[in-house]
Each structure stands twice: as C-alpha cells, then as structure tokens.
C-alpha cells in the first residue's frame, strides 16, 4: 500500500549537510563574540578554544560555506538535475495564490489545502531567503575579514555598514531558521518530531500525497509512462 518514495538526491543532501554544518558553526562562533558578556557566550568561546581559535573557526566555516555556495552554483548551472531543480525553485504567480489559499485554509475559510508541486511557496521562501542572506553575509563578511585591504579605498562607513549588516542579518537568519525552517521540518504536526528525508532522501508515499500532491500525480503518471524507478526530481 504505502511506499517510500525518493525526494532528495545525494547531491542535494550533501549540499544541505554542508550548509547546515557551516551555518551552525558560523552561528555559534559568531554569536559567541556578539554576546561575549553573557554566560553562554563565554561558555561557547571556551568550547571554541578561546578567542583566537573562535575567529579561526568562524573564518574556516565561512570558507566551507563559500565552497558550498560555489558547489551549488556549479550544480544549478552545469548538471541537468540542478538546472531542473533550480527551475522548479523559481517563484511564480501560483505561489501567491497558494499562499493566499493556504492562509484561508488555516483560518478555516477553505475546506481544502491548496495542492502543491515539488516546491511550495514555503520551500521557495526558504531557498531564496537563504540565497539573499548568504550573499549579504558573504559581502559584508569579506569587508570585515580583509578590512586592512578595504581600508585603502573604502570609507569608514562602508566598514560600519558591513558590521551592522553582518550582525543584523545573522540575527535575522537565526530567527528565520527557528521560526520558519525548523518549525516546518520539526514542529509542524505533519513532520513532528522531524522530517528525516534530509538524511536518507526518502519520504512516505502518504506524506508525499499530503504535502506535494501535484508532484505525486506527476510521479505517478511518469511511473506509468516509463516503468523505471522515479528519479530524484
């Protein structure tokens, strides 16, 4: 009856894992310096091996994130799978009506949830928010890291803006992660206590039918056309 179906390819999962590790490391090494006067800030700095090591860890994690980003750009531009995935992540008009319908469903004004494709507006917001966040963090981070170089031609305010931007965006990212991403994958009743597809790539057919009905239909008809096992996308 119910069957497991693939959702994320190995490449996707590796990218997610790299992103998760680098962002987590960046957050604990970054917030520990911003809140170094609090108890947990001091504990984190201690765990990170002191102030110097904390800085090194932060920069190292940034490099890892950069590599992940480069990997991702290669993935979405060079590989067939990546190009197809990226196309499906592009926002379109339907996302807005989906959002509207989803909210009215939550407010009990509609009896049925809107039917989502492979990526609903929820996933698209996650993807593009992170896209912008990482870009901002990268640009401001580079100015802060190589300040001696940038001081030779940038005015002081560029440094100040970068500093404010780096801290502000970091706060935004952690709030976004908790309120949006972690809620969806851990706390939303359909996924609680967690959705493990980021690890092994599979979800149940039932979950697929409930959460991504359009993709499920597509998958079904494809499977009917080609008696081959469904691909990652």
């Amino acid at each position: 009856m119910d069957n497991k179906v693939p959702r994320f390819s190995r490449s996707w999962r590796v990218q997610h894992m790299l992103l998760m590790i680098s962002v987590l490391l960046l957050m604990i090494s970054g917030f520990s310096v911003k809140y170094s006067d609090t108890l947990w800030g001091k504990v984190l700095i201690f765990l990170e091996g002191g102030f110097q090591a904390r800085g090194a860890l932060h920069r190292l994690s940034a490099v890892l994130l950069f590599i992940t980003a480069v990997y991702h750009f290669v993935y979405i531009s060079v590989t067939k799978e990546g190009r197809s995935e990226f196309k499906k992540l592009l926002p379109n008009k339907r996302d807005f009506t989906d959002l509207k319908n989803s909210v009215s469903y939550d407010l009990l004004k509609r009896s049925e949830r809107p039917a989502f494709g492979r990526y609903s507006y929820r996933e698209k917001v996650q993807y593009w928010a992170f896209f912008v966040f990482i870009l901002l963090m990268f640009l401001s981070g580079v100015v802060l890291w190589f300040h001696d170089f940038f001081f030779t031609f940038l005015p002081k305010w560029a440094f100040d803006v970068s500093f404010a931007l780096h801290g502000g965006t970091a706060t935004l990212i952690i709030l976004f992660l908790v309120m949006w991403h972690l809620y969806i994958v851990h706390l939303s009743p359909g996924n609680f206590p967690g959705n493990s597809s980021f690890w092994h790539g599979y979800v149940s057919e039932r979950w697929m039918r409930e959460n991504h009905p359009l993709e499920y239909e597509e998958m079904k008809s494809e499977a009917a056309g080609k008696p081959k096992e469904g691909e990652a996308d």
């Binding site: 009856m1 119910d2 069957n3 497991k4 949830r113 939303s188 009743p189 359909g190 609680f192 206590p193 967690g194 959705n195 493990s196 092994h200 599979y202 979800v203 149940s204 057919e205 039932r206 979950w207 409930e210 959460n211």
Partner: protein
C-alpha cells in the same frame, strides 16, 4: 571809561551852573515850595506829587556835584508861582552823551532803546551806575529772572567779586536784545571766566552741536540761574535733547532700540528713583562725564565697555572689588571679550533694583540671563567646559520650576554660585566647591533644618573631619537638575534611592577603604523590599525608609533608627505586627552566603533538588522521545502506518475534572508569570510589561498574584472536597495511589526506551508518570500555599516566625516556584504536547475523551478494564462534533 566820565561830570556842571546863575533861582528857592510834601498837580486827570526831598537830592550824584534844579528843568518861568507853563521833559543829553539806540545800519537792536534814563537811574535820587548794578536794579523790571539771585553768579555779586548783570549783558547802555545777544556767542563770554570748558566740550561728542549753536552753555546750565540741581540734570538738561524723537529720529542702539527710548528708560532706573527719594544716585554725568562726553565706542569714554567696571566702581566700590576677584572679573581682566561687565547683566540706563521684577537679574529672570551666555554662546561654553545639556537641565529642576511658578524664595543661579563673587566649582573658595555645598544649601542657604540633620549624621560628621569621599547634598540630589523626591525622575525618588546609595555603598573601592559591609546593597536588591522597589513599588521600603535620609547614623548609635532598641519602631512604621522577637535576627541577609547557615543549606538543597529532579525528568523524557520519534520516523520512511484507528472515544476527564484542570492551569500560569516578574525585574519581558502598564505596575502585579494564589487555593480546597465526597473522586484518588507496580513499570519503560526490552510497560488508568505528576502537584501546592500565606500576611506572621523565618519562607517560595515551573515544562508539557504520540496536543483536557488508539497506546490496562466493564463506560461513538483523527492532519 564811563566811570571816568563821572568825575568829569561835576566840573562840566559847575561851568554850566555859573553861566546860567543870573537867569535862575537857587535850589533853595525851588525847595521853598517843593519841599512841601502835600504839593501836587493835576495832569491828565491824575494827581501827581511835586514833592522833592532836598536831603535826597543833596545826597544824590547831582546834588553832590551842585547841579541846580533849573539845570535840568528848563523852559518855564521860575518867577510865576505856581508855574503856568508846563515843564517839558528833562533832556539828560544836554550833559550826558549817551545813546540808547543802535547806530543806523547795525544788525542788532539795543535792548533798552525805548527806555528813559530815569527808568534805571532814578530822578532826584540818581545814583552811581555801580550801585545800580550791584543792587540788581535790573530785576525790578526783569522780575522773571529773579532766579539769578540764587545762582552761583549771584553769590559773586554779593561777595563784590565784580560780577554784575553787565558782566554778561554788555555795558549798561549797550544792552543788546537777548535774541541778538545769544547770536553773538555767549559761550565765548562764559569761557572768559570758565576757562577750558569750551575746549572740553569740543573734545566730546557735543562738539558739532556746540559749533552749530544748537547746544549752548545755557542749554544745560540755564542763563540766570546758572546752576542745575543733581536731580534735574537728566530732566532739565540731557533729556531736553536726548528724548526728542525729532532730533534723534532713526538713531538706534546696537540692539535696535531707539536711542530716545533708551535714554528715557533712565527715569525708571534705581539711580533715578534713589536720587528722587534720597538725593543720592547717579545721573547722566556721573557715568557719561559732563563737558567732555564721548561716545561709548570711544575707548576713553567712561561708559566704554572696557571702563564700565571702574565707572560703576566709583560708587559701588565693594561690588567692583568682589567682581574683580570673581571668574567673570578675572576673565574680563585677562581680555576675554565674552566676559560680562556690570551692564551686561544689569543693563545700562534702565538699571533697576534686583528686587524689581523688571530687572534682568531679578530672582525670577536671573536664570534666563545667565543661560543666555552660558548656553547660547559657544565661546562661553568652550571656556567653561561643561555641556549645554547640563546647564539647561536646571530648567527642569525643582528650584527653577518653583521660581517660575512665582515662588521668589526658590533658589536662583546666584544663590548657589554667588552673584558678583561667583567662582567655578573647582575653586575652594567657591560656594559650589564640593566641600562648601552643605553650607551653601544648608547653613547659609535655605535648607537649614536639613543641614542640621546632615551635620549630625554619619556623612556630615565625616565631612567635618575632612573626609572627601562622603556624599554632600549634590551627590544624592544632583546638582543642576535637582528634582523633588516625589518626581519619578529624581535620584532620590522612592525607587531610585537605592541606586543613589549604591554609588558608594556598592563600590568596591569605597567599601574596602572604609570597611563598610560590601553586600548590603546586593542583599537589599534581592530582598522582597528591593525586588518590589525594582519593579516600581513606591510603598516598599528603600534605604531611606529605615536608615533615614539626612541624619543617617550607624546601628551602634542609640539614636539610630536601625539601632537594635529602635528596630521594632522602625519596622513598625510599615509592619504593625513587628515585635522585638522579629527584629532579633539579621535584616540584610544574603541567601548564598555561609554566614546564614539555614538559608544557605536550604538553597543548596533546593538547587540540588531542582537539578536532580528536573534532570532526571529530562533524561526520562529524552529517552521516551527518541524511542517514539524513531517509531514515527520509521513509519513515515517505510510508509507503513498503523491501521486506521477506530472512532471510539473513552471518557478520560469529566467536565468537573476539566474545569478543575482549567482553574489550575490559569491560576498556575498567572502565578508563575506574576511571581517571576517580581524576582526578575530587569528581564526584558518584565520591563516591557512595566512600560505598558506604567505607574501602578507593582501594585497591580501584587494584586493579581494574590488573586491567582487565592484561586489556586480555592481550587485545591474544592479538589479535597471532590476526592472525599464524590464517588468518582474517591475512585480517582484510589487509582492515583502509588503501587509497587509503578516502580516495575518505570524500570520496564527505561529498558524499553534504551532498547533492552522489546515491549514497553502496559499502563493502567494512571501511569507512574501521571502519579508522580499528581503527587508533586499536591506537595508543591501545599508548600507554595503555606509560604505564600506567611509572606502575604507578614504583619501577622513576622511577629511569630522572626525575620529569619520570613527569609526562609521567601527562599522556599522562590525555589519551589522554579521547581514547579520546570516540572510542568519538562514533565507535563512533554507528556501532553511534545510526546510524539500526542503531538501537537493531548485533547483530553479539552474534549475530555481519548480515542481507542490513544487508549491502546497509553493506557492499555484501563482500556481492557473498560471493555470488560461493558458499554456503560464508552460514551461516544463516531460523534459528529468530534473530528476523526487524520481528517485535518497536515
């Protein structure tokens, strides 16, 4: 020249007399008739006396010279008596070559051209010209000029110094008309005697007017009086021109004021008023000089800014001296242009008494004029080195506010800083030098009573000994921005006092130096008093409530409010139940310190309990969570879900029980929130709430906490009633009693969760989890109710349980609260919310029922029992109002 004529006259007359002797009778012949004093004649209807006194004539100039009657009275027959012909007028020019008419073609007229010789010289009693002058015969006609008699010049006449009318008005017969006379330059005339005055005037600002003739000596000094009283200098001399708008049309001062208005404003000045009432007071000339008047812009003018101080100092010598010793004076002397001189504060012409409300340095207006330079002038700001904001803060002070509302006794700038003698605070002679402040505010100032208390207190006595670290008035009250203690922004407002005291009493440096107990502030801040004050209570005791404000004394002093003998009274101010016994244990206690062994060990035990119990709960639930999550995840991954559950529902909680739960839930949450609000007044969410609620926050919080406490106790009482007197209640308590089986179940659950056992425990109606929760709740409610009531009704309790007992109750109430909150969060919320089997919520507390699937999962033994008991316990089947599981699942 004329005088010489007088001596020639008798000679000429005697020649005439001899030549006419044969034709006329002698004087004696004439006097034979004319010495009769009744002899008269009628002319034009008037009776004219024809009497001539021979004695008067003989002693006159003519008589002396032997002039005969007929020498003057000619043209009639002497022999006809009475004389029939009318006697023609006497013609003096027969003998005297004197002309009273101006020569033809002259541009002037003679003043006396129409007068007769005898109008001045008299007839038979003719006198010497000198006598006419000296006796001021002129005034018999010119009576309007009688003021001459009191003039300075008149004195010269009386003293026979040779000054007569003629001195100014030309020789007797050459008296010219006054209008003409003026045009010929009286000033040249004046300067004949008053040497140097003319050049004095020409050195001054009046030079042009003087040359034009618009201004003459007499303009100011007047002609005949030639003297002007001090009182009249302004009104009669200077004002004549200087308040004339036509003369000074469009002439403005540098401030844009009309010059005439400026001059006129002198009339209201204290100088004018004082002159009027006492005869003493500066007039125009005292400041501006008299003949040599220079414009204020001239550096040599006495009213030039550079010279004003010494000009005023001519009268106000003491003020000048203290000014020159002041910061203002020193700055002025060193050439700093912005330093004020007398007129900058007091104004010039309009200068008024400082008691007058119009004076710019009146008590009420003083701050304005001081701040005008000290705040608005950037250069002054730079010189003084203090910020504009600091200076401006005086405007919101209780002093200036009170002053502005009309209380002229309130302190103004000069009361603290001094007026002419003001010095910067850093100068040890300054009134606002730190160590002089108590004397400025108190001893020499307004707050005499406060000063006496301060001086006898611990701070005042230390200051007197030369201790520089003790607080003076300004250290607690602020300096410029002194606010009333009732103002919430005041540093001595009820909720701010502790912070003001803490500046020193929590300072490591000061407490170490003077051996003060360093933890008094911390222990206060963590006490109920401190916490209540921190959340905004103005009723709860602050430092001053017990220690006093100004007269603070050490507890060893028998006069001290915190002396052991006085404690009952001091505490009794608020707590009428305070007994001697209550005050026998320490007041400032620190729960974390080993100095208070009971409190120390109690808190240690509680911390151990909290970490131990909550830690075990957490561990227990993590294991449970992992196990159940893996099950769920496996189901999703493999797609193998348990069979659709049946829609049968079983009663778990009746309406009554659900209501009890709801009352408990609401009162518990309210108690947790309002309780921790007191304990953590600085947490962001507490601050936010305080900002929203505003002033009454502390009271409102306390009231809500007590209401919620009462509700919870009422709920507990009801519950006791419920489990004692209802059948279901008694069954409930029976099912809730702990059994040995519960321990076995717990061990089984542990084994199952860590993978040592394949099957989990099968629970009856209440598992060991629910039993633990219930009995912990009973325990917690009891402990919280008892300690809470002790704290609430402290007036009753503190006489019995002492301060230490109250501290113990406070400590237990706090730690038990933490334990209960964490237990609810970790134990209860996990069971009913985060437990993967029930997530997002176990609906039993709302709907009152559990589904068969849920019963099978959580309470299989109870399900069996219910099924055995028969249909009676199964209440709803496929109830339409209850959604079947999965319908709205996302």
């Amino acid at each position: 020249m004329k005088n010489r004529f007088l001596y020639i006259l008798p000679l000429l007359l005697s020649i005439l007399f001899i030549s006419s002797l044969s034709f006329a009778g002698s004087n004696d012949d004439c006097l034979a008739c004319h010495s009769d004093s009744t002899l008269t004649m009628q002319k034009d209807g008037k009776t004219i006396s024809l009497y001539v006194s021979g004695h008067v004539f003989d002693s006159s100039v003519h008589g002396d010279a032997g002039v005969g009657c007929t020498d003057c009275h000619q043209g009639f027959s002497a022999d006809d008596v009475p004389h029939k012909q009318t006697t023609p007028n006497v013609d003096c020019s027969q003998c005297h070559d004197v002309k009273l008419h101006a020569p033809s073609g002259a541009k002037y007229q003679m003043a006396h051209s129409s007068e007769k010789c005898w109008d001045c010289h008299g007839t038979h009693d003719i006198e010497s010209a000198r006598k006419i002058n000296v006796d001021c015969k002129c005034l018999s006609c010119h009576s309007a000029e009688k003021s001459f008699l009191t003039s300075a010049h008149s004195k010269q006449v009386i003293d026979h110094k040779g000054f007569t009318c003629e001195t100014c008005h030309q020789k007797a017969h050459d008296v010219r008309q006054v209008a003409v006379f003026r045009g010929t330059g009286a000033d040249t005339l004046c300067s004949q005697c008053h040497k140097g005055v003319e050049s004095d005037i020409e050195n001054g600002i009046h030079k042009k007017a003087f040359a034009d003739g618009a201004l003459r000596c007499v303009t100011c000094h007047t002609a005949h009086e030639a003297r002007i009283s001090k009182q009249e200098i302004s009104t009669r001399a200077c004002f004549k021109c200087h308040t004339d708008r036509k003369l000074f049309d469009g002439v403005n001062t540098s401030d844009g004021e009309e010059l005439t208005t400026l001059v006129q404003s002198y009339s209201h000045s204290i100088h004018a008023e004082s002159l009027k009432s006492t005869g003493k007071g500066a007039t125009c000339v005292d400041c501006h000089g008299s003949h040599t008047i220079k414009p204020a812009s001239d550096p040599t003018s006495p009213v030039n800014r550079e010279n004003v101080v010494s000009t005023c100092g001519r009268c106000h010598a003491d003020v000048e001296k203290s000014y020159l010793n002041s910061s203002h004076g020193k700055a002025f002397e060193s050439g700093i242009a912005v330093a004020p001189v007398c007129t900058d504060c007091h104004k010039e012409h309009s200068i008024e008494s400082v008691d007058s409300p119009n004076s710019p340095v009146s008590r009420a207006r003083e701050p304005e004029i001081c701040l005008n330079c000290h705040v608005k002038n950037k250069e002054v700001l730079k010189l003084t080195g203090v910020s504009a904001a600091f200076l401006m803060s005086i405007r919101s002070s209780v002093h200036i506010r009170s002053l502005e509302s009309g209380n002229l006794k309130a302190a103004t700038c000069s009361d603290c800083h001094g007026a002419h003698d003001m010095l910067p605070a850093g100068n040890s002679k300054s009134k606002v030098f730190r160590e002089n402040i108590p004397s400025t505010c108190g001893a020499a100032g307004c707050h005499r009573n406060v000063y006496e208390k301060y001086a006898s207190g611990v701070h005042g006595t230390a200051l007197a000994k030369g201790n520089k670290n003790v607080p003076v008035c300004t250290d607690c009250h602020g300096d410029h921005q002194i606010l009333a203690p009732s103002n919430p922004r005041s540093t001595v407002y009820a909720t701010n006092v502790a912070q003001s005291c803490a500046k020193c009493h929590a300072s490591v440096r000061l407490t170490e130096r003077y051996g003060l107990p360093p933890d008094k502030v911390v222990s206060y801040m963590d006490s109920y008093h401190g916490l209540a004050v921190r959340e905004g209570s103005t009723i709860a005791a602050n430092c001053a409530s017990c220690h006093g404000a100004h007269e603070i004394l050490p507890s060893s002093d028998p006069r001290s409010s915190i002396n052991g003998a006085n404690l009952q009274k001091t505490c009794g101010k608020c707590h009428n139940g305070a007994s001697v016994r209550f005050a026998s244990t320490p007041v400032h206690v620190l729960t974390g310190s080993k100095g208070e062994p009971i409190l120390y060990w109690l808190s240690e035990i509680y911390i151990f309990l909290i970490i131990g119990i909550i830690g075990l709960m957490l561990l227990h639930n993590v294991l449970d969570f992992v196990k159940k999550s893996r099950k769920k995840l496996t189901q999703r991954r493999t797609g193998v879900h348990p069979a659709e559950a049946s829609a049968r529902l079983y009663v778990r909680m009746t309406g009554n029980e659900r209501l009890q739960h709801l009352v408990l839930l609401l009162s518990f949450l309210t108690l947790v929130l309002t309780g921790f609000m007191l304990k953590f007044p600085d947490a962001w969410w507490v601050k936010t709430m305080r900002d929203i609620v505003g002033n009454g926050f502390a009271d409102l919080r306390g009231v809500i906490h007590r209401i919620a406490g009462s509700v919870m106790i009422a709920g507990a009482v009801y519950h006791i009633f419920y489990v004692s007197f209802t059948k279901r209640g008694r069954q409930f308590i029976k099912d809730m009693l702990p059994k040995i089986q519960d321990l076995r179940d717990a061990v089984t659950a542990l084994k199952y969760n860590i993978g040592l056992s394949k099957d989990g425990p099968r629970f009856p109606r209440f598992s060991y989890i629910e039993k633990a929760e219930y009995w912990a709740l009973i325990w917690g409610t009891g402990v919280m109710a008892i300690t809470g009531l002790l704290l609430w009704f402290n007036n009753l309790s503190l006489g019995v349980i002492t301060k230490l007992g109250l501290d113990v109750a406070t400590l237990i109430h706090y730690y038990e609260a933490i334990l209960a909150s964490l237990a609810i969060l970790v134990w209860h919320f996990y069971s009913v919310i985060f437990n993967p089997e029930v997530y997002p919520l176990n609906l039993a507390c709302i709907k009152g029922t559990l589904s068969e699937e849920e019963m099978e999962e959580e309470h299989p033994l109870e399900l069996e029992r219910l099924k055995e008991a028969g249909e009676s316990e199964i209440v709803i089947e496929n109830g339409n109002d209850n959604p079947t599981p999965g319908q709205r699942k996302q």
